[in-house]
């Protein structure tokens, strides 16, 4: 009985899983729905917008700066397009698959298909409108898919990218979000994931690695280096990610309260610690403190603290941040060279490995003294919680790896996954999108073959360069 109660507390308040119980039974039992709190609602809506800003421009510019100049636009397009794609998918079916009434611990039911029944009243125990919760969660779905794109950047065909993204968010993200936050089997087990260490970061990081393996290396990798074309973009993106992450983590409290404040502070502290660690390690081993190292270290810290943000005290967050810097640096600089995969923008190292560290660290440092609705971790004398975290990690790894592999194999049958060698060398901006990122010369080197559809008398008469025969 005691165990059962404890499990309920653990499960019921795993951040988003406040919503695991469908509205109807709650109301049917005569419990009055909670009143909407305007402060909580304002914070969650703002947090939703902050998480959106993580996708675009945050992640888009973080990734966009890291690629070669000829792929700058195609990389920005990945994040931008996914934001739109998942906005529609989430409303139509993503939300209900993730947060609809539980079916066997595996998937959400279709009660909320097309946002049916997702209204202005609260649903569950949080004091915000159901719509606000659904909007917040929709942004998480978007950034998770967008993160994966760093694994296959600079070589994936656009149609294959669209199909993969749609299938992945539906068949991998939505079930996984349900398992952990929607009342699925991992929630029932008591695995803690405050803001998405397993659901968002392990899943995207592992998927990026598998995608990189299936799609293959970029031509010339790793012998011919193509260094980042615009590191200031990358720093700008990292800073926006850090900023938006306050919505991601502190917003996951689903209220403007003390828990949100804790999540805010530990997020900032861990990120600082991870950045300092990465810079120190790189400076020591390589002789120079690179700016890209600082930016990457910050992302590692943000990733690691994500699952722990509502469960650990501030000093523990510093340890988690230091661990993030070490694990991330090792993954990106040592392990990557030995994996043989061209995970182009290091999604696996920074999100997969560091996400795994964060999930495990949550099982070490979690404390009911910090959050009574959480659980005690190993260091508070509860090894069982650590085991739960391990199970959560293994489940996320397996789901992401198998799901991504199968989806890519299926997509590959429908349409080729990668561009031709020729297209890759010319660049995806030109070959996939018909654009170039930079036209910096004031000289006009071209002319419109048809201005606004009027390739007419005026154009022919006025422009001697247009003397070629027109059809």
């Amino acid at each position: 009985m005691l165990t059962g109660l404890k499990r309920m507390a653990t499960v019921g308040l795993t951040a988003a899983s406040l919503w695991m119980l469908p509205a109807v039974p709650v109301f049917a039992q005569g419990t009055a729905p909670p009143a909407i709190n305007s402060g909580d609602t304002a914070w969650v809506l703002l947090s939703s917008a902050l998480v959106m800003a993580m996708v675009v421009p945050g992640l888009a510019f973080f990734y966009g700066g890291l690629v070669s100049q000829r792929n700058a636009l195609s990389t920005l397009m990945h994040s931008f397009f996914i934001l739109a794609l998942v906005a529609v998918q989430w409303v139509l079916m993503g939300y209900t698959l993730s947060f609809g009434p539980d079916i066997g611990g595996v998937i959400g039911g279709l009660d909320f298909l097309g946002f049916n029944g997702v209204g202005q009243e609260p649903n569950g125990s949080a004091t915000i409108p159901h719509l606000a919760f659904a909007a917040f969660q929709g942004m998480f779905a978007a950034i998770t898919v967008a993160l994966i794109t760093g694994g296959f950047a600079e070589r994936m065909r656009f149609p294959a990218f669209i199909l993969f993204s749609l299938l992945w968010t539906t068949l991998v993200y939505d079930p996984l979000a349900h398992w952990v936050w929607g009342g699925g089997w991992l929630a029932g087990l008591g695995a803690l994931d405050f803001a998405g260490g397993t659901v968002v970061h392990i899943s995207s990081g592992v998927s990026a690695l598998v995608a990189a393996l299936v799609i293959g290396k970029r031509y010339g990798y790793p012998e011919s280096l193509r260094p980042p074309h615009n590191l200031p973009f990358t720093v700008l993106g990292a800073a926006l990610l850090w900023f938006g992450w306050f919505g991601f983590n502190a917003g996951s409290a689903l209220a403007a309260n003390g828990l949100a404040s804790l999540a805010f502070v530990v997020t900032h502290a861990a990120t600082g610690a991870a950045t300092l660690t990465w810079v120190a390690v790189e400076w020591t081993l390589k002789g120079k403190p690179t700016v890209l190292g600082a930016a990457t270290g910050a992302i590692a810290g943000l990733v690691a603290i994500t699952p722990a943000a509502g469960y650990v005290d501030v000093l523990s967050s510093l340890v988690i941040g230091v661990g993030a810097g070490l694990v991330g640096y090792w993954g990106v600089n040592w392990l990557k060279a030995r994996l043989g995969a061209d995970d182009a923008l290091d999604v696996f190292g920074v999100h997969g490995l560091v996400g795994t560290w964060g999930a495990l660290a949550t099982g070490l440092f979690a404390s009911e003294a910090v959050n009574p609705a959480g659980a005690n971790g190993l260091l508070s004398g509860n090894p069982a919680q650590f085991v739960n975290q391990v199970i959560g990690v293994v489940a996320a790894w397996a789901m992401a790896a198998v799901g991504t592999y199968v989806i890519l194999k299926v997509v590959g049958v429908v349409t080729p996954l990668r561009v031709s060698r020729e297209e890759e060398l010319v660049g995806l901006d030109q070959t996939l999108h018909g654009e170039e990122a930079y036209h910096l010369s004031p000289t006009v080197f071209g002319h419109a073959s048809s201005a606004f559809g009027m390739d007419s008398a005026a154009a022919k008469a006025g422009n001697p360069a247009d003397a070629r025969p027109s059809s």
Binding site: L225, P227, K286, T290, N333, K336, A337, D346
Partner: protein, 119 residues
């Protein structure tokens, strides 16, 4: 008339332009270029990898001067460009058949001398 093609370190560009002006040069064309010689560029770091560009950043200054001024201008450019280390660059001197100042139609030396120039 000869063309001096001066390919030098970008960080010496300002000094060289000043020296050329002191030597009476009034017109020049400048291009940012990359080239390969004996010099190795400073290594850059991307993740764990240090890499060196095979082609090193240089700046190319082209100027056309009357035959009797070539040596003075050449010496000014070389003196300003020299650091004594590998990678200081090259100067190539080529014969120029003719020149035209577009605005006035002047030809030859008159086309490359500045207004009121004493060279």
């Amino acid at each position: 008339m000869k063309m001096l093609t001066v390919i030098v370190r970008p960080e010496k560009f300002g000094d060289i332009v000043a020296a050329l002006r002191r030597a009476g040069v009034t017109g020049m064309t400048v291009t940012e270029v990359r080239g390969q010689g004996y010099q190795k560029e400073l290594p850059q770091i991307y993740r764990s990898l240090s890499y060196q560009a095979d082609f090193v950043q240089k700046v190319k200054i082209e100027t056309v001067v009357p035959d009797d001024r070539v040596e003075e201008v050449l010496q000014a450019a070389v003196a300003a460009a020299r650091t004594g280390r590998v990678g200081d660059g090259k100067v190539f001197i080529t014969e120029v058949i003719d020149a035209v100042r577009v605005r006035t139609g002047e030809r030859g030396d008159a086309a490359v001398l500045g207004p009121g120039a004493d060279m």
